[in-house]
Amino acid sequence: MKKYLFLLLPFFFLFTGCIDEKEYENTQNGNFEALWKIIDEHYCFFDYKAKVYGLDWDEVHERYAKMVNPSMSELQLFEVLGNMLAELKDGHVNIYAGFDVARNWSWHENYPSNFSDTLLTKYLGTDYHIASGLYYRVLDDNVGYIRCATFSNDFGSGNLDYVISYLAQCNGLIIDIRNNSGGLISSAEKLAARFTNENILVGYLQHKTGKGHSDFSSMEEQWLKPAKGIRWQKPVIVLTNRQVFSAANEFVKYMKCCPQVTVVGDKTGGGAGMPFSSELPNGWSIRFSACPMYDKNKESTEFGIDPNYKVNLSDIDFLKGKDTIIEYARKLINK
């Protein structure tokens, strides 16, 4: 009989048990606890924000749990949960419900916009060119101007070759990414790769390896490799404001490492955590920063990158139909 004992081997499965995850009840308290736990186990900036402004996620739980009760409405719950996430001061953290999006946009709402559509139209005119979402033209003092409003488009190498070839005779180039709130990091890399002739270290990447607030992988180097197509060899000015966020923030980080690049305008909005998605028992979607990114000095860019020259739009210039930041960049190029 002993020789047949091995037949019981598959039944060992029954003793090792099921691999399962606790599901919170779809109640007001259940959704609150589920949200707090998702962020507690996955959010990547707890340690950093504890240092910067004293964020204590356990204390946040204690404070907000008192505001949740079974009789509150869906809208009231949404407001409490949204306010709880706003404690993270992170533009990549949201709740998406059918009726609203909870967000904290203080990273740009509390600052001057430093951008005007009216002024932009005066510089672009109507006869500008468009390639893969990039608006470009030559300004009247022979300065190339590219308006890059988003990195949501996947730039083709042919698109970028056309743009750079067209502007090649210019004395310098302005890349205006004000109000660019991100998109694909790969697109930011592709554009930045046109401004270096050699591999350059531009920063570091990390990811979480466990549920603890300090469970991270080692920092992996981010290298920017020169594009194989046409590369720009003259001065470049990147224009920024507080709405430059996420992949656009990464673009500024890359460009600051490239030769002949100067950043002009306001500090960027930040957003240095690659976001992941999750969900609550009631079906609301969650977005949160999951993978932190750092600059080449291993400093977080979560709260933005300072420009080389801080310039604000002036009201006087606005009344004259001049964009102070573009004009400053033109002076730098033509100096």
Binding site: H207, F276, S277
Partner: protein, 268 residues
């Protein structure tokens, strides 16, 4: 026709039978069942969501046994593919999952009589698949790739009802060792595939961190000179690696056709 001619012709006539009799020593018997299945599936992958998704799975299974007459050693070859669609409990999000499974193994029939046979063996068990979450942005999908060494036990009981031969068959398998691809806990696919930053992405598995099991109970019956197979399939794949939990539990009804071939070597 002389007596010698008659003896010669009789010899020629009987020759093939003698060869067949000799060849029968190592006849190959191939039993192949092609089945389709439909059932309920329960999907959890904490890389995508802490919520479990429930839905319907469709499956195709090709199950082959290659035996030799008068030998206890035989081979099992299984190919199966499944596709499923499942919803979260609030019914506002979906997950699609699909897996291709290939198994190849050698088995030993250690109980063998006319009515009852029991065999054991080990399979190489390769799996390739995906789970796609329809609402996630930077983590929309999870690749599933794992290779296992999987012990298998199977038992068959043959019996007659009226003049028909029927077979009741049960097979259970559970992997004991393997390797599995997995991103690390909070690692993005961008980091793995665009940057080439690998971090424990090929993980050893064993019964403790990937206790999985497949079982199938089938009943073969003959109708219109064809053998049909109907049965129940339970497939419970689960793992906890890199602090990520996943499971796909499937309970399905399977139905198909069984064909039995005998390959006979004819020597000149």
């Amino acid at each position: 026709m002389t007596m010698n001619h008659k003896i010669f012709l009789t010899f020629l006539f009987l020759l093939p039978f003698s060869v067949l009799t000799t060849a029968a020593q190592d006849d190959k018997i191939i039993t192949n069942a092609k089945m389709i299945g439909i059932g309920n599936t329960n999907i959890l992958d904490t890389y995508l969501s802490p919520e479990k998704y429930n839905g319907t799975e469709f499956r195709y299974i090709s199950h082959t046994l290659r035996e030799k007459r008068n030998s206890h050693l035989y081979r099992e070859i299984i190919q199966q593919g499944n596709i499923s669609y499942a919803n979260n409990r609030s019914e506002n999000g979906g997950e699609m999952a699909g897996t291709y499974n290939f198994q190849y193994g050698w088995h030993w029939q250690f109980i063998s009589d006319e009515k009852f046979t029991v065999g054991v063996g080990g399979n190489i068990d390769a799996n390739l698949g995906f789970i796609y979450n329809t609402r996630n942005s930077n983590n929309p999908a999870q690749a599933r790739a794992y290779l296992n060494i999987t012990p298998v036990i199977e038992a068959a009981y043959r019996f007659h009802i009226k003049n028909g031969l029927h077979t009741l068959r049960y097979e259970i398998s559970a992997p004991i060792l393997g390797v599995m691809f997995s991103p690390n806990y909070g690692q993005s696919y961008y980091e793995i595939f665009s940057k080439g930053n690998y971090d424990h992405n090929v993980v050893p598995t064993w019964v403790g961190n990937a206790p999985s099991l497949r079982q199938m109970l089938t009943f073969d019956f003959s109708l219109w000179k064809t053998t049909f197979r109907i049965g129940y399939l339970g497939d419970y794949q689960q793992a906890k690696v890199n602090n990520l939990k996943n499971h796909i539990y499937t309970n399905a009804i399977v139905f198909g056709v069984v064909k039995k071939f005998s390959l006979i070597k004819l020597r000149p």
